[in-house]
């Protein structure tokens, strides 16, 4: 276990290095990306541009620039090229919003995915199962930005049932307002996953239900409920739980960009999207690295969880 975690930590350092170098280089080769020119404002004099280049280390060679930027990232001093705001500070403001969105949506899609998948599996082949199949197909076919836009327009702007986007801190508006503002974003983000997960749960259950050990369980004289819960569901959900961990990692590390932007939640994802639009390298670099870090951590946790849930799995040491 300890060796496993050490190996993952070493792997993490390599991943972060590769990700940071790649992201850094991309902005070196994008056309019209000289930050000094953009920062100097409209009609700058060449000496102004030169002055900016010097103070921001843009005239150093690329290796020095990279090392300088990394130092700033790890000391928390990195500032945005466009408004000179502290990147780490901005991320800290956005993180609770992104996590609130991601965690809530993940709980919703897991709960509904299992419930609908179980329902479908129990009624496999019947009309209700076919209806859910069609529904799941529609669900996975709707892009989140489209669903989100429809929701804010019809349920928010037109009908006025829900707020028209925005995020309310618990400390400002209370728990209810926080929850109320998140209902639509959670739903929009979860819909696609509910479709996918209900199908996976359904097929896993149908695979498991014919396994020999389920027949053994029935022959014991325990209730059908217990057979389903302890033997069928328990075994068919192991791969789903691990997938859930990975998908949650992906949503936090970038998958929530669209949802945050559509609903104007001002989370890390939206901050990231806006920074890319401005070709603002520091936020992009730091958010990308944070995302990569988070993915590696979640993957490690998922692997450990998998070994806990299934005793046949051994962590490679």
């Amino acid at each position: 276990m300890a060796r496993f975690i050490v190996r993952r930590l070493i792997g993490m350092v390599l991943v972060l290095f590769a990700v940071s170098v790649l992201t850094f280089l991309i902005f070196q080769v994008i056309p019209n990306s000289d930050p000094a020119v953009r920062m100097a404002g409209k009609l700058p004099t060449p000496s102004q541009v030169e002055q900016i280049r010097k103070t921001w280390h843009f005239d150093d060679n690329i290796f020095v620039q990279y090392v300088y930027t990394m130092k700033q990232i790890f000391s928390g001093d990195l500032v945005s090229y466009s408004d000179q705001s502290n990147v780490t500070h901005q991320i800290w403001i956005g993180l609770p919003r992104t996590f609130a969105l991601g965690i809530g949506a993940a709980i919703i899609w897991m709960a509904l995915g299992i419930a609908l998948g179980l329902f479908s599996a129990v009624r496999a082949g019947k009309l209700s199962d076919r209806f859910l199949t069609v529904l799941a197909l529609i669900g996975v076919s709707m892009p989140v930005f489209w669903v989100g836009a429809l929701m804010t327009y019809y349920l928010g702007y037109k009908a006025g049932i829900f707020p028209n986007g925005g995020y309310v801190e618990v400390g400002e508006g209370g728990l209810w307002q926080w929850f109320y503002h998140l209902i639509l974003p959670w739903t929009a983000l979860a819909i696609l996953f509910i479709g996918v997960y209900s199908r996976i749960v359904r097929s896993n259950i149908l695979d498991t239900i014919n396994d020999d050990y389920v027949r053994t369980a029935r022959s014991k004289g325990i209730s059908e409920r217990r057979v389903m819960r302890r033997h069928v569901l328990r075994n068919s959900l192991i791969p789903v739980v691990t997938l859930w961990g990975l998908d949650f990692g992906l949503v936090i590390a970038g998958g929530a960009v669209l949802t945050e932007s559509v609903f104007n939640l001002q989370g890390v994802g939206q901050y990231y999207a806006e920074a890319i639009g401005r070709l603002d390298v520091p936020p992009v670099l730091e958010v990308t690295m944070l995302g990569a870090f988070f993915i590696v951590v979640v993957n490690t946790l998922v692997d450990i969880l998998y070994a806990v849930l299934d005793p046949r799995i051994r962590l490679a040491t």
Partner: protein, 345 residues
């Protein structure tokens, strides 16, 4: 004479499939007395496992149709409610399955899986259940039982897992043990050990056993009576001596001929029964064995009843006892079945 505990009467099981109705079991009647070992022998698809599963309702499904009756100590099993069956499963009749590698839940500890059955039927404290589990595991010959009860199935060999299955089946002291090919998936040496263990336990506990197998060699030592099944029907039934020394049905001759034996002069090839078992989707008219039988004659298009035809035990073959005794002696190497040309085989 001991008490009759199980009586299957004219059991018929049909499965509706996309291709049509499969007549898996056709008019099977069997009885089992307390403490008796009944072997049900036949090849794959002969309906022997379906018969066994039907007793506990383990193959109930919307597409399965059960006819006839099966009485266990006064309770009719085929029409019994799930809650009635639940009280019988594990407690009164327990089952051992064919493949010990897949018959245990891979993510639960062995001890917990045995305890689950005990707790389903008896109100015991945790410590009492644990003691029972450990003593059961010791009884079936699992070393270091207390420690091993905390292991997972993948940490056991096939033979050890089958011992666990036996311990599980015996955990509530059932009156009937149904063993569905308990040794088929095991090595030959382990097979003997498991059978020996089952025999010992039967003698100690007086449990009646229905032993389902395709291997006549397995049953000689342990069974009291043998029912030979073919194509969903019982074709011959008798005591072990009757079946081994005075077999009446040509299919039984074929089965006996295909046992590997060390006391027989080695033939070039192990004798086998030519051809394939009949499709139960569209079974042939009359005797189901007709197409593979070298002694077929016109009468065989009529279904022979399972009755005593003069040999002292019932069979389903139209030949007279004298004809049978003469024909089965005809060829050396016991049976001359392999000589028949079967079209399409």
């Amino acid at each position: 004479m001991s008490e009759r505990i199980l009586e299957i009467d004219h059991l018929q099981v049909d499965f509706r499939t996309d291709e049509g109705v499969v007549h898996a079991v056709d008019d099977v009647s069997l009885t089992l007395d307390a403490g008796e070992v009944l072997a049900v022998v036949g090849e794959s698809g002969s309906g022997k496992s379906v018969t066994a599963m039907s007793l506990l309702g383990l193959n109930r499904s919307p597409n399965a149709v059960f006819r006839g009756t099966a009485h266990y100590k006064g309770t009719e099993l085929l029409s019994a409610s799930e809650s009635t069956l639940r009280k019988i499963r594990g407690a009164e009749m327990a089952m051992i399955f064919q493949d010990p590698m897949t018959s245990l839940n891979p993510v639960q500890r062995i001890g917990d899986q045995i305890a689950e059955q005990i707790l389903a039927h008896e109100h015991l404290s945790k410590a009492e259940v644990h003691d029972r589990v450990v003593s059961l595991m010791e009884r079936v010959g699992i070393p270091r039982a207390a420690e091993r009860s905390r292991s997972y199935p993948h940490e056991f060999s096939g033979g050890m897992r089958q011992r666990v299955m036996i311990a599980l089946a015996l955990s509530c002291d059932p009156s009937v043990l149904i063993a569905d090919e308990p040794t088929t998936a095991l090595d030959v040496t382990i097979q003997a050990q498991i059978l020996e263990r089952m025999k010992e336990l039967k003698d100690q506990l007086g449990t009646a056993i229905i032993l389902v197998t395709h291997d006549l060699g397995v049953v000689a030592d342990i069974a009291d009576r043998i029912a030979v099944m073919y194509g969903g029907r019982i074709v011959e039934e008798g005591t072990v001596d009757e079946i081994f020394y005075d077999p009446q049905h040509p299919y039984t001759w074929g089965l006996l001929g295909s046992i590997t034996r060390v006391d027989r002069t080695r033939a070039e090839k192990l004798p086998s029964i030519a051809g394939l078992p009949p499709s139960l989707l569209d079974p042939p008219k009359g005797c189901h064995f007709r197409a593979r039988c070298p002694h077929e004659f016109p009468k065989c298009v009529e279904v022979p009843a399972l009755e005593d035809r003069g040999a002292g035990h019932p069979d389903r073959c139209w030949l007279t006892v004298e004809e049978k005794r003469a024909k089965r002696e005809l060829t050396p190497g016991e049976i001359g079945l392999a000589t028949k040309e079967v079209v399409g085989a």
